[in-house]
Amino acid sequence: MSLRDRLEILADAAKYDASCASSGTAKKNSLGGKGIGSTEGMGICHAYAPDGRCISLLKILLTNHCIFDCHYCINRKSSNVRRARFTPQEVADLTLNFYKRNYIEGLFLSSGIIKSSNHTMEQLVECARILRDEYDFRGYIHLKTIPEADPELIHQAGLYADRVSINVELPTRKGLTRLAPDKDETQIEGAMGKTKARIIEAKDERKRFKHAPRFAPAGQSTQMIVGADDANDADIVGRASGLYKGFGLRRVYYSAFSPIPDASAVLPLKRPPLMREHRLYQSDWLMRFYGYAPQEVAQATDKNGNLPLDIDPKLAWALKFRDQFPLDVNRASKEQLLRVPGLGTVAVQRILRARRHRTLRLDDVAKLTQSIAKVRPFLVALDWRPTTLTDRADLRSLLAPKEEQLELF
């Protein structure tokens, strides 16, 4: 098979991995080196695909042969997809060729399990080693690590890569046993715990010794598949927050289970709406940047434990706890303002700065926010008091985005 055919198969197989981030790593450049590559903090999206997702990294599998049989995965052993494999050298050359033409920020390499977990992990590490040691490549490398592999190999991966990730795959242990029978939650979490310890250790060493080796400076992340098992949003949010706390993860990615060719028969009857993934990301943001506790996000869910699809979780929470509003925009604390639906972190920052100079009127707030209509019912300003609005029974329908009336055709 030609290089191009294999690239098509192995890129196609990698598209179900959500992450393509290249940000948040240590600054480095190729001045004074032999090779090329730089990372300057901010990630760069070199292209966008028509699915709206950014293409920042060359995201491929080393091989899609796999001895595991996870039902949601297109590359599982019992699936009839076309198989292909790259050698580590081929991936390294491809990465460099793309990088030299400024197509990408670096490499995101993952793999199906061939022969054994250790063998596969060795191949992944070998590819990173060729790039770093032989080509002196200083761009971004994200390695997917295999929890069952020898900790020493995972350690090496972290020394070469900017970011390492281990997928928890499913939000519940039950789901994992059912859909990924060869994987084991204890093993996954054990590997994450070890990686966390190594990251902290390396950071500490660098404080004391200037030339101590870096270990995964962009941290570790994970991915969860949403909608393949019966876990509800409250379960997922709880699990994600446990992962953030327990393993110091930089990101938890959600991937809505999407129909895969050659799907296994034990998968759910329906695929989840794409909006569900979006709502989960929003709740993720609420926890990371807006000071919501996971229990509070869970309070925004409906009786089945799922977040509403028609309105965002922050609005859902505010509608449930109306006694907290309206807030005086001139007096409320930062933490309180962050809870107002429609106010983002930037708008809150602007309000805090502006109110040092003057007492804000509704007009002033309008200049500082995206949409005054959305925040108005929840705020009191110098010349504005939403007396009746917050008590209205139909407030939700007033604020939820309108369904578009379709045109006759």
Partner: protein, 486 residues
């Protein structure tokens, strides 16, 4: 006051000054001149700023170039001009904008800052907002340059690799971004050609040259084909979001990006590709039947795997509808296919013998198979049994799960590895799994043992050993059955 008076000495009252910028992006030059003018208290409406080739000087239009008044120079004791750090940061960037009024706008803001040092915080001031807009669009343009420059490889005269790109920036950002590309491609020979000037790096020095035309850039690169393959493969047709793509990659950039030529076809083909993906997984959309009759009808109509075309019929399970024990075999054999009932052939007879021996009543159990059709190859008149593949077992698992949901057995006995796979979704070894129950979802427990046909294939001592193990497994199941609370 004294300092001001001193500076005023150098200014002619009512005079108008014109500053000719040597480069459209020369911040240092603008800063020097602007500082001197502020020190001499020249108000914004008395200064014109002209960029090279520009028409910023209203008085200079047409006619011979007017003799410009020499700029005032502040005295030695002129006061210091101070600005917030944020102004400097914004001004450095905003000056790269292609808006011809940018120098004047910046000077106006600098002038206002002298009387109101906190004006930068006032987001309502139109001047501040304009400068912020300029800064923002320049930052965006720079970011897009980092992202969308596409190099093409050429061999130069000395045989060395040279990477050349053609890019069309909106603003005067080329020189300001030289450092980024130098740090990134430090050990590569590259050139970036733009209509606003070019950059050339040979691994040690940066050289600048005048504006270039698109024709000056090379026209293609074999690696582009690989990149295009990657671009179309990584795109997931099941989630088309064209708006999100256009917001970040506006059409004006497309003409210089090789992959962008694929976009129209990718969008047009997306629905068909997604439909294909859904059809391949169409199974998911079906409701699971809730009665044994409905399952039987479904099984005989099922064509989800190639085995369905083999054999005469799909063989459904049989037995008590609420049996505490479910016995699962591999697949119907020749006799089963002919008679349409499970476990009636030689293996079935052997199973019956053993069941009777340990005291399990077959009629009180539900007997079925992991795969519902007979898979065989024709050899002369005989139909020779073929083992189902893992894929076939998994496809048929749908029906087995449906049966298990209806019958709700407390104990499930899997005969052979295929049956175990049908129940667990993964392959287990019979010799390792036998003897201890495995909990199944829904609370039932699974016992795994060999398939009776395995015993039929053995001889002598091996058969005796295996038969003993088989009988022992059945005895354990019987014991568990008896121990079940009524």
């Amino acid at each position: 006051m004294r300092a001001q008076r001193a500076s005023m000495q150098n200014v002619s009252l009512g005079a108008h000054y014109v500053v000719h910028m040597p480069q459209p992006d020369d911040f240092a030059y603008w800063r020097e001149r602007a500082r001197a003018l502020i020190q001499c208290d020249v108000p914004p409406d008395r200064v014109s700023w002209v960029e090279p080739g520009g028409t910023g000087d209203l008085f200079a239009e047409g006619g011979p170039p007017r003799r410009t008044r020499r700029l005032p120079s502040p005295g030695k004791d002129a006061r210091e001009v101070r600005v917030p750090r944020r102004f400097l940061r914004l001004a450095r960037n905003a000056i790269l904008h292609s808006d011809q009024t940018r120098f004047a706008q910046l000077y106006l803001l600098l002038w206002k800052l002298q009387s109101n040092p906190r004006i930068m915080e006032d987001k309502a001031d139109p001047n501040v907002r304009r400068i912020e807009e300029l800064d923002k669009s320049v930052r965006r343009d720079s970011h897009k340059m980092h992202a969308f420059v596409r190099f093409r490889e050429v061999r130069d005269e000395s045989g060395a690799d040279h990477y050349v790109a053609w890019f069309e920036p909106d603003h005067h950002i080329v020189r300001a971004n030289a450092g980024f590309f130098m740090r990134r491609f430090a050990n590569m020979n590259w050139s970036i050609l733009t209509p606003r000037g070019c950059l050339h790096w040979d691994g040690t020095t940066m050289r600048e040259s005048g504006p270039a035309r698109r024709e000056d850039a090379p026209q293609g690169d074999p690696v582009e084909e690989l990149w295009k393959s990657y671009y179309s493969s990584i795109f997931n047709p099941a989630r088309l979001k064209v708006g999100a793509m256009l917001a970040e990659m506006p059409k004006k950039y497309w003409k210089n990006m090789p992959e962008a030529k694929l976009i129209p076809d990718l969008i047009a083909g997306a629905q068909a590709r997604e439909a294909g993906m859904v059809a391949a997984g169409a199974r998911e959309a079906k409701e699971r039947p809730a009665t044994l009759d409905a399952i039987a009808a479904g099984v005989s109509a099922c064509r989800d795997c190639p085995i369905a075309e083999c054999g005469k019929r799909g063989v459904m399970g049989e037995g008590a509808e609420t049996a505490p024990l479910m016995i699962v075999g591999e697949q119907p054999g020749d006799q089963e296919d002919l008679q349409g009932r499970p476990f009636v052939g030689p293996a079935g007879q052997l199973l019956d013998e053993y069941l009777a021996q340990v005291g399990i009543d077959r009629n009180a159990a539900y007997v079925t198979n992991a795969v519902k059709h007979f898979k065989y190859v024709q050899r002369g008149k005989r139909r020779i049994h073929q083992s189902p593949t893992a894929k076939e077992i998994d496809t048929c698992r749908w029906w087995l799960e449906a049966e298990r949901e209806v019958v709700k057995p407390r104990i499930v006995l899997a005969l052979g590895a295929s049956a175990a796979r049908g129940l667990l979704g993964k392959t287990v070894s019979v010799s390792r799994a036998r003897g201890t129950p495995i909990p199944l979802e829904g609370g039932a427990e699974l016992w795994v043992t060999a398939h009776p046909s395995y015993l039929l294939r053995l001889d002598g001592e091996a058969r005796e050993t295996q038969a003993e193990l088989f009988a022992r497994d059945l005895t354990s199941v019987k014991a568990r059955l008896d121990a079940l609370p009524a």
